[in-house]
Amino acid sequence: MSNTNRTKLFLDAALFAAFLVTMDPRFSGLAVHEWLSLAAAATVIVHLLLSWEWIVNVTKRLFIKAANGARVNYVLNWLLFIDGILIMLSGIMISESAMPALGIALPMNFAWRRLHDLSANLSLIIMGLHLAMHWNWIVTTFKRVFFGSGARTVVSAAKQEAQ
């Protein structure tokens, strides 16, 4: 198993855990919610860097010979990216803890608050689809990392994702 797959699995698991915690600001507290979200945004960049080859390959052959599944996956990933930007931007605009702590004062606009709620709810649906599309890879990589089995299936799952 490649180190990239192992790193991806642990990074994605951490990202997913952070995503769940940030989805409940009343439970975690506002400060944790805001700082953890900012940290998660940086982690998303690493997530994208680890998938860079796939992104470039599918972008190049999107309209030529990409499989339908890859096209749907690609569009879904873009939607998730755009929605993530909206969540972050609206979150920064209504920040009550992180931005004031950094000495940044932003004007309060209720539209951002509504957009933050809306984009967060939308992200749950897109994230559910994103996870379902990569479920084979998650399961096979998990098995390989923790039980040392399924080397072939990891390769086939990776190939399936690359198509």
Partner: protein, 96 residues
């Protein structure tokens, strides 16, 4: 160097999308309708209330937001998986 370039590409794209969103919301925010829709909160109530402390609340403290997140993600993922499964099953039916 290659990684830095890629990070730069991601940040530039994110900034462009974010800039467009900011411009859109600012333009919409200038309209009087949005200003009027902002609810007036009662005296002493916060714009987004902090979580109550454990001592302030009775019963089991369930992270409702996380449960909701997991439930919605499961539903979305389940619908997708069922659709894919049904599509594969339909392909397997032999043609007479």
């Amino acid at each position: 160097m290659k990684t830095l370039f890629r990070i730069l590409v991601i940040l530039i794209i994110a900034s462009m999308i974010g800039g467009l969103m900011y411009a859109g919301v600012s333009a919409a925010g200038d309209a009087p309708s949005l200003e009027n829709e902002r609810p007036r909160l009662p005296e002493g109530e916060q714009f987004r209330p902090e979580r109550e402390g454990p001592a302030e609340r009775d019963g089991i403290d369930l992270p409702g937001g996380m449960v909701k997140a997991l439930a919605l993600m499961s539903i979305a993922g389940g619908i997708y998986s069922a659709t894919v499964w049904a599509g594969r099953k339909a392909k397997q039916v032999p043609v007479r």
